[in-house]
Every structure is written in structure tokens, then in C-alpha cells.
Amino acid sequence: MEYTGRPAMNALSIRGLTKTYANGVSALTGIDLDVAEGDFFGLLGPNGAGKSTTIGIICSLVRKSSGTVRVFDVDVDENFPLAKSYIGLVPQEFNFSVFEQAIQVVTNQAGYYGIPSALAHERAEYYLGKLGIWAKRHEPTRFLSGGMKRRLMIARALLHEPRLLILDEPTAGVDIELRRSMWAFLREINEAGRTIILTTHYLEEAESLCRNLAIIDDGRIIQNTSVRKLLSQLNCETFVLDVDSGDEIDEVSGYSMRRVDEGTLEVDVKREQSLNPLFAALSTQGVNVLSMRNKANRLEELFLDLVGEEGA
């Protein structure tokens, strides 16, 4: 990130946040969370863990029961309008009028932030263009595809140039090609200095995009660290090797191996183990490794471990 000459500050600071709904369900039981300015932060957790409730409170769509929320050092209880002006939200559900044109959806949103019409149209052209839906600007939103609707919500959230962009499942139901292009766009705006908080069920997405993350489960934070540190906790990884040997392959000492089919081998590798002896042993047996990949996403394995432990 570029050096701006300013001392680093938290884009978001949450202390002792609780939320109990009218039906008695306790969604948050006192969470503390800091997100540094400029970070790409992941907020992960199973369904019903409290992610959307947390986001709803930050954006004023849900009333908190207790606790404090500060956005760029502005306490939402003291000056919510200013705090709101710093935030852009891409919600999980489509929440625009299905009768309006795409261009109206984004320029109206700009209007609610007091942005003059000419500037709103200029930014609409930029963001709708960047996200590949400028040509569809006059289409009523109900005629847009699911992927276009998702991109429209991202463009809408960016029209007032928020310092903090919150994305709640932004790529849900989006095909992989489009998802990757959205990742590239999000990386670009993050590198330009915008703080991003992302919730997603695609852990590959979190691993690829986020520098830091928190895992929330049952209304409390159970892990809050950098992605790198979290991945270093992984004790064992399973690799899938594509091999060219149809013959019997002998066990390699120290590695747990399974022959899935004639050309595929699964090998469990512990954190302290190197892959070199494995390759050397296979080579000695005349087995060529054609390609190799992780069996499961690494973060996914950790996530299941952490959430599973908590639930046990």
C-alpha cells in the first residue's frame, strides 16, 4: 500500500458487540474486532454464525443490543451519518427495485449521498464500465442475469467512493470466470487504498483475496489472525498426484498414500515433512509425477477443523 503520511488507523473497530433479537435468539455474544485501514479482511463463518448481523449493525440495518462500533474512528452512536458516508455495502440479497433501470439504481444511490447528478453519471459510467455492464445500463434490473445483478450492486456501493467496502457473499451463484474477474477488480480497488471486508462461503476466495481474517461461530469470534499465520497451523495437507505408472507403487516410508485409480495417487504430507523424499522415492520406482494439486482448499480444511472443534 502507498505511504500516505498518515498514522495507520482502524477502518473498523468493534468492542463488546451483542445482539439479541426480539424472539430471544442471541446472534452476537460480545465480539471484538479490528480491521486496519487498507486491509482486505475476511469475515468467515458457517450459516447463522452472526456475519450478516455484524454487517447489518455496522451499516445500521440491524439495531445492536450493546457494544460500540467505530468506523474510521467515528462512533456510530455519535455520528452515524458521517460513519455511513464512509461505508459502501454490497448485501447478500438483491435489494434494488426490479422496475428501475441499472443506471437509475446507481445514480439514485449516489443522490442519497448528496452527489451531484453530473458526477454521479461520470462515476456510473466508470464503475459500470469497469464491471462490464455499461451496455446494459438502460435495462430494467429484473432482466439482468444473476452475475450482472451482483456486479450492479458492487457498482452501486462504490458510487460515493467509500473508504470501507463491505461485501456480503458478493460472488454467490456467480460462475468461476466471472468470479475471477470480480476478484481482479476487488484486488485493484484494494491496492488503490480502499479497505475491504469480505464474507464468503468460497474459502478459496478468502484465501486468494484476504490478508487477515476472523472466523465467527455461534455469535463469537473464534479466530482472528492473518491468513498466512492461520495456514501455518495446518498440520497435514493431502496432495493429489497425477502419475504415469500403471504398475503397483510401493509405500514410501513416512508418507500415508492411497492409490485412487491407475493414474492418481493421494498422499498425506505433514507440516514438518518435505516433498523431496517422496518425489525421489517415486522416481526410484520409475513413477513420473505429471502434475500435483491440493485435494481440498487449505483454508477450507482449517475452517472445518476450527468450526468442528467449537461445535464439538
Binding site: 433479537y21 426480539a22 447489518g56 451499516c59 445500521s60 440495518l61 440491524v62 439495531r63 452515524f80 451519518p81 458521517l82 455511513k84 458516508s85 461505508i87 455495502l89 448485501p91 440479497e93 438483491f94 435489494n95 434494488f96 427495485s97 426490479v98 422496475f99 437509475q104 439514485n108 444511490q109 443522490g111 442519497y112 449521498y113 448528496g114 452527489i115 451531484p116 447528478s117 452501486r156 460515493h160
Partner: protein, 257 residues
């Protein structure tokens, strides 16, 4: 948000409201005119000619101000109740809730949208009425101010209904079971002087009587009630509803969990 930004936000909400009801004009602008044409034909021409004069005017002339006012109030109310509830239903209201736009601007934007639709309907119905009767305005300032204030009051009423509504059924209950009976019993079709004393007293508890009669005074110069009382009541009700809606939005009633 600075004053210029607040003004832009207000204009955006108002423009969105006007665009909405103009986009669906066959649903919003045409039906009230057709309904009023039927009223003019049936109550004015067919039945009215047998009734004779009322308050010194032909029956058609007498009921015309009430019919105009009835279409204005219905349109103003239904505009805000349906627009705001639709925004809640589609969750597009969240676009405003997450923005820094003040709640009073949201109220004014929606309410003035309802007022504009009410006034457009008022103009259309008035123009239609000229095919059936002659109209001369007795007091222009009273006529205009009472119609604007009444439209504003009903717009705010629609907003309260929409805030509490949880289903589309809820937005039709109040118009069907409260507003329509009050309107029909509010002196649109008759002078309360025709009623026995007891029912005259009961009628005076109906707020719509004051609006209809004040508007009738503006056009014809006759009224069953004192116009100052009508203005005072309407202004007080507007302030009360505005404060109530502001409180409801601040609390997030019906909008925030």
C-alpha cells in the same frame, strides 16, 4: 451531510417517486378519473337532477368539490403506502437506510411524491368535471392551500400505514375499512345540516368532513364547518404524523430488526 447534499438527496427521492407513478400511469392516473366520471354520471346527472339544490347549488355543483377532494386524498394515500411498502418488500428501502440521508428528508421525499400525485389527479378530475358542471373558484388561496395540506396529511398517513404493514393485505385494510367509510360519511354527497342533531355531532368527529367542507368553501363559498377549524386541525395532524413517522424511522420500526 451538508445542505446542498441534503437537497440533492431530497430531489433524488422525489424524482424517484414521480418517476415511479408516471411509469405506471395506467394504474395511477387513469383509474381515479374513470371512477370520478362514473360518480358524475350516476350521482350528478342521473340521481342529482332528481335531488334538486343543496346549499344553494345544483347537486352536481355541490358534490364536485367533495369528489375532487376524495380522489386527491385516495391518490396521495395510496401513492405513499404502496411505494414505501414496495420498497420495504423489495428491500430497496435499504438503499436509503444505509446512506447518510436524514430521516426527515426520506419523509419529505415520499410525502411530497404523494402530494404531487394527488395534485395531478386533482387537476385531471377537475378538468373532467368541467364536462359535467361549471366551476368557479370562490377563494383561490383557501382552495389551493387546503388541497395541498390535505394531500400532505394523507401522504403521511399512507407512510405510517406502510411502516407498520407486513403484507400487501395490511396496506389495503386502512383504506378499505377506515378511509372509505369516513370519506363517504364525510359530507362529500350531502350537507350535514340534513342530518338529525345527534348525527351532526357524530359527523363532526370525522376529520374528513373538515377537509371536504373547507375545500368546498374554497370553490363554492359554502361550508358546514368553520374553515379556520379545518386548517388548524389539518396542520396539527400533519405535525403530529410527521413527528410520529420521524420517531418510527429513528427507532427503525418495521425496517430494522
Amino acid at each position: 451531510m451538508n445542505p446542498h447534499g441534503t437537497w440533492i438527496a431530497f430531489r433524488t427521492i422525489l424524482r424517484k417517486e414521480v418517476t415511479r407513478f408516471m411509469r405506471i400511469w395506467p394504474q395511477t392516473l387513469v383509474p381515479p378519473v374513470i371512477t370520478m366520471v362514473l360518480y358524475f354520471i350516476i350521482f350528478g346527472t342521473l340521481i342529482g337532477t332528481r335531488i334538486g339544490e343543496m346549499g344553494g347549488f345544483s347537486y352536481m355543483e355541490y358534490i364536485t368539490p367533495g369528489l375532487i377532494m376524495m380522489s386527491v386524498t385516495n391518490s396521495a394515500y395510496s401513492n405513499t403506502v404502496s411505494s414505501f411498502f414496495s420498497a420495504k418488500f423489495q428491500r430497496s428501502i435499504e438503499e436509503m437506510l444505509i446512506s447518510p440521508v436524514p430521516n426527515y428528508v426520506i419523509i419529505l421525499g415520499f410525502a411530497l411524491g404523494g402530494v404531487l400525485r394527488g395534485l395531478i389527479i386533482g387537476v385531471l378530475v377537475t378538468a373532467t368535471s368541467l364536462f359535467f358542471t361549471k366551476l368557479s373558484v370562490h377563494h383561490l388561496a383557501v382552495t389551493l392551500s387546503i388541497v395541498v395540506l390535505t394531500a400532505l396529511l394523507f401522504s403521511l398517513g399512507g407512510l405510517v400505514n406502510a411502516i407498520f404493514a407486513r403484507s400487501f393485505d395490511d396496506i389495503s385494510i386502512v383504506p378499505t375499512f377506515v378511509l372509505t367509510p369516513l370519506t363517504y360519511l364525510g359530507g362529500v354527497f350531502y350537507s350535514i345540516n340534513l342530518l338529525p342533531e345527534f348525527w351532526q355531532g357524530v359527523s363532526k368527529a370525522n376529520p374528513i368532513l373538515y377537509m371536504v367542507n373547507a375545500f368546498r368553501y374554497g370553490i363554492l363559498g359554502v361550508s358546514d364547518i368553520r374553515v379556520e377549524v379545518a386548517f388548524t386541525m389539518i396542520a396539527a395532524a400533519i405535525l403530529l404524523l410527521f413527528a410520529l413517522i420521524n420517531l418510527l424511522l429513528n427507532r427503525g420500526t418495521g425496517l430494522r430488526s
